[in-house]
Amino acid sequence: MNDFFILMKQEIVIMIIIFALLIIKVGKDRSNDWVLNMVNILLLINFIAGFFYPKQGMLFNDMFRTTPLAVLEKNILSLGTLIISLQSYSWLKNHKHVIEFYVLLLSTLLGMFFMISSGNLLMFYLGLELSTIPLAAAANFDLQKKKSSEAAMKLIISSAFSSGLLLFGISLVYGTTGALTFTEITTHLSNNPLQIFAFILLLAGFAFKISVVPFHLWTADVYEGAPVAVTSYLSVISKGAVLFVFVSVLYSVFKPISESWYNMLFLLSVVTIVIGNLFAIRQNNIKRFLAFSSIAQIGFILVGITGTSQLGATSVIYFVLIYIFSNLAAFGVVSLVSAVTGKENISDYKNFYKSNPVLSWVLTIGLFSLAGVPPTAGFFGKFFLLMAGAGKGNYVLITIAALNMVISFYYYLRIVKAIFMDANEHPIEKVVIPGFSKIALYMCVAGIVLTGLVSYVYDYIHSLVPEI
């Protein structure tokens, strides 16, 4: 019994928080401020509690597996959720359904935790569904806007379709290997065409979740329509969780067919980076822009995944952490400006520096980190990702990726240029930063500055990734 509590401690903490929220909802009427303060403190406790007693073990007949690496991954996601929650303060302050929002969001987080710790394809699917469906409901939370409902519909329908593909793949895997547990599947895998087909279907399901081209078409519309908090959550946490699972599943379970998936990933990464870049250049809405730029970032992560297992896995997990900080820094500023002034176009940000110097610098640092400019952490993340990819000797891929970094530079610098250099007839007026948002933005900036220069984070992740 003790084992159960220690091994599943992060899941249990989240469940307790969800139940606490439900009890608050049923109980005495509380003001939104009180609720928000309460939730943020609980999330902070959740994040800190994650660092105690990381243990290795399995439960429920290897359906639930936890390793120190899984614990770290869950902590990273908890941190991201905390930052997003802090940043959504101004939007949620006046919302009618705060508790429902948090219940939905934390349910998805719970699903992601189960997904990361799964040892069995069924458990994985359970976690995946739990992490998607409430999110589609949360995407509808800008209740007054039609675009929000449209985003939610698009998200649920495309998710359902991709889940269908995934299930088909899982059933084929079971049919050809006779096992659902990850360890058993590996022993029965070979370069059987039907198994490769099953893998392709699984890959399609994953690819949808992380917006790899050509499964990316839902991304821009959903990001644009959903409320900014949900967009941030989708772009970093949801993607991060699926990437974590993808990395561990790919290297351990599908090792026998590594030749086949290497070529597939090579192709997918090139296409993703190029298409993501090309479309990002043309965007004027900053939320759509961030959506497409995140597609290009995922392309870079795929380059890292193609590398050797230990280097590749380490660089991906490291980059997801950095990506959380960078993307949330950018989204934080965007969400604040959007909540206060409703302005979302890149041309609205011209001469932003004059009225909002602090927010300008935070947005710029976030964009530089996304672009990969030293000394921000994004430089280290991208460097190590491409280095992992180069380890396999595929210099064509690295050259394409490196040159595309220059293209991505262009569109990130375009926004920096607008902020600092262009003139504006209707500039954004001074935005007062609420306390919680300030904390969140400082956390993001601190993360961007420190995670790269201080090698401890990378070394720690590297020590946890198993050598396969």
């Binding site: 000394p375 490196a402 530079f409 250099m421």
Partner: protein
């Protein structure tokens, strides 16, 4: 001696500038910081001389090595030899001159000086790094401040120039990255580990096929920084749209980052490929020299004249590196130092003229010697150094490159040398024409009331002129400084032959 102080000092100055209020505090703090950098650079020079005199023959002195990312074998490894030291001195001179010339910068002055000092951090870090990752890190650190400096404080089509500069330099770093990866994964330090350490890699033998594949990446990547033809197109717009101090830094130091990289990384670590590609490098360098010179002749704007002439002069650096003889490599390093000082002086003079006359077009200027004798004299000195007048540093550098280039009897090499020498005539044409028209002749009424240089401009120009003359009249101290460093590189290169 604590070498990291070269990075910490400008970083601390930059951070300090952020806390200042008002232009007086900002520029005083910057000046103190820049002066301290200069003192530090000279201290290192004296210590270096002492160490060498005491018999310390190791290639790099004052080394510091800390493991940064242990799993990837990335170290924060720094050290200097004669070549790096000469670059550090160059940087110190140009930075303090740049700070002094920008003394009256009113617009967003805190951010301006902050970015300028950040640039110097990047430059110092690059020149003292002995680990490829650290080198690459500092190389990229320097790009974004340039973008912001040109885009915010520049003139003319500044946003376009800034974006073009940033994208092309980043393209250069992307190519360098591929080259570095190729080198890294083909080094073997035992049980399959790789290393980024320059000194270690120089002891290893990288397979020739691998070298031939990755040398172009590294050389072209660094070459973009040094205006390698045909990737030089960022230079004219970038230098001309930039504010004065940024132009000085760009042309004076940033272009030398490329030359240093070509020498220390591409040639030193991949000597077989350097031999194989030498003819290509020489052809491209000669084209840059000739094309740069002729293109300059057509320019009517002083800054564009200097920018295109930078393309031409940096072609000498690449020519020296391509020729691969002891003398020519020495000449390349000498040219890096000399051109850096000279172009900084030239840009400073042009900046001084522009703030007074509000025009950079040669056709509109004239007779400035009467009203601004100091500035005009400085302007002419810079011009004479550019065309290689003996007694100034330009002559020393160019003669060394030519003598080194002539040593190779191959027809192509001799032809390239002759063409490069011939370009001096073209240089003389555009310099004498521009200088003559600007400082002599009748003076227009608008300029009768101009004031001559103020104290900050006098000190800035004076420092650069002293350095140029010191190298021009007594080049042996600089040559003896860089010779041991180039010897080691050349030993490696000649071993292959």
């Amino acid at each position: 001696m604590f070498l990291s102080s070269l990075i910490i000092l400008p970083l601390a100055t930059a951070a300090g500038v952020l806390f200042c209020k008002g232009i007086k505090q900002v520029r005083n703090v910057s000046l103190v910081g820049a002066a301290a950098q200069m003192v530090l650079a000279f201290t290192f020079l004296i210590q270096y001389w002492k160490e060498r005199a005491a018999g310390n023959q190791s290639q790099m002195l004052f080394q510091e090595d800390h493991t940064w990312f242990a799993p990837l074998n990335i170290h924060y490894h720094i050290g200097i030899d004669g070549i790096s030291l000469s670059m550090i001195l160059l940087t110190a001179f140009v930075v303090i001159a740049g700070v002094l010339v920008s003394w009256t910068m009113e617009k967003l002055n805190r951010e301006f000086f902050f970015l300028l000092l950040l640039l110097s951090v990047g430059a110092y870090g690059f020149f003292i790094s002995l680990d490829l990752f650290t080198m690459f890190f500092f190389l990229e650190v320097a790009v974004i401040p340039k973008f912001l400096l040109i885009g915010i404080w520049g003139s003319g089509k500044k946003e376009y120039s800034a974006m073009k500069l940033a994208l092309m330099l980043m393209g250069g770093t992307a190519l360098v990255f591929v080259g570095l990866m190729g080198v890294y994964f083909n080094t073997n330090t035992g049980n399959g580990a790789h290393t980024f350490d320059v000194l270690q890699i120089s002891q290893m033998h990288i397979p020739v096929e691998v070298q031939k594949l990755f040398f172009p990446f590294a050389f072209v990547g660094f070459g973009i920084f040094t205006a390698l033809f045909p990737f030089h197109t960022w230079v004219p717009d970038g230098h001309s749209s930039a504010p004065t101090a940024a132009s000085m830094f760009l042309a004076g130091i940033s272009m030398k980052l490329g030359g240093y990289g070509c020498l220390r990384v591409a040639t030193f670590l991949m000597p077989d490929a350097a031999h194989a590609y030498a003819p290509v490098i020489i052809v491209l360098a000669t084209i840059a020299i000739i094309y740069g010179a002729f293109a300059t002749m057509m320019q009517t704007d002083l800054k564009y004249i200097n920018a295109y002439s930078s393309v031409s002069h940096c072609g000498f650096v690449l020519l020296g590196i391509g020729m691969l003889t002891r003398t020519s490599i020495n000449g390349a390093v000498l040219q890096m130092v000399s051109h850096g000082l000279m172009t900084a002086l030239f840009f400073a003079a042009i900046g001084m003229i522009y703030t007074r006359t509000h025009t950079r077009l040669v056709a509109q200027l004239g007779g400035l010697l009467k009203v601004t004798p100091f500035i005009s004299t400085v302007f002419v000195i810079a011009g004479l150094c550019s065309l290689g007048l003996p007694g100034l540093s330009g002559f020393v550098a160019e003669v060394t490159v030519f003598m080194g280039s002539w040593q190779n009897p191959d027809k192509l090499y001799r032809l390239a040398t002759i063409l490069a020498c011939a370009s001096i005539v073209v240089t003389a044409v555009y310099i004498l024409r521009a200088a003559g028209k600007t400082v002599m002749g009748p003076i227009s009424n608008a300029y009768e009331k101009l004031t001559d240089a103020k104290w900050n401009e006098i000190v800035a120009a004076g420092l650069l002129v002293i350095a140029i003359v010191a190298i021009g009249v007594a080049p042996f101290w600089l040559n003896d400084l860089i010779k041991p460093g180039t010897e080691i590189i050349m030993n490696k290169v000649l071993m292959i032959k």
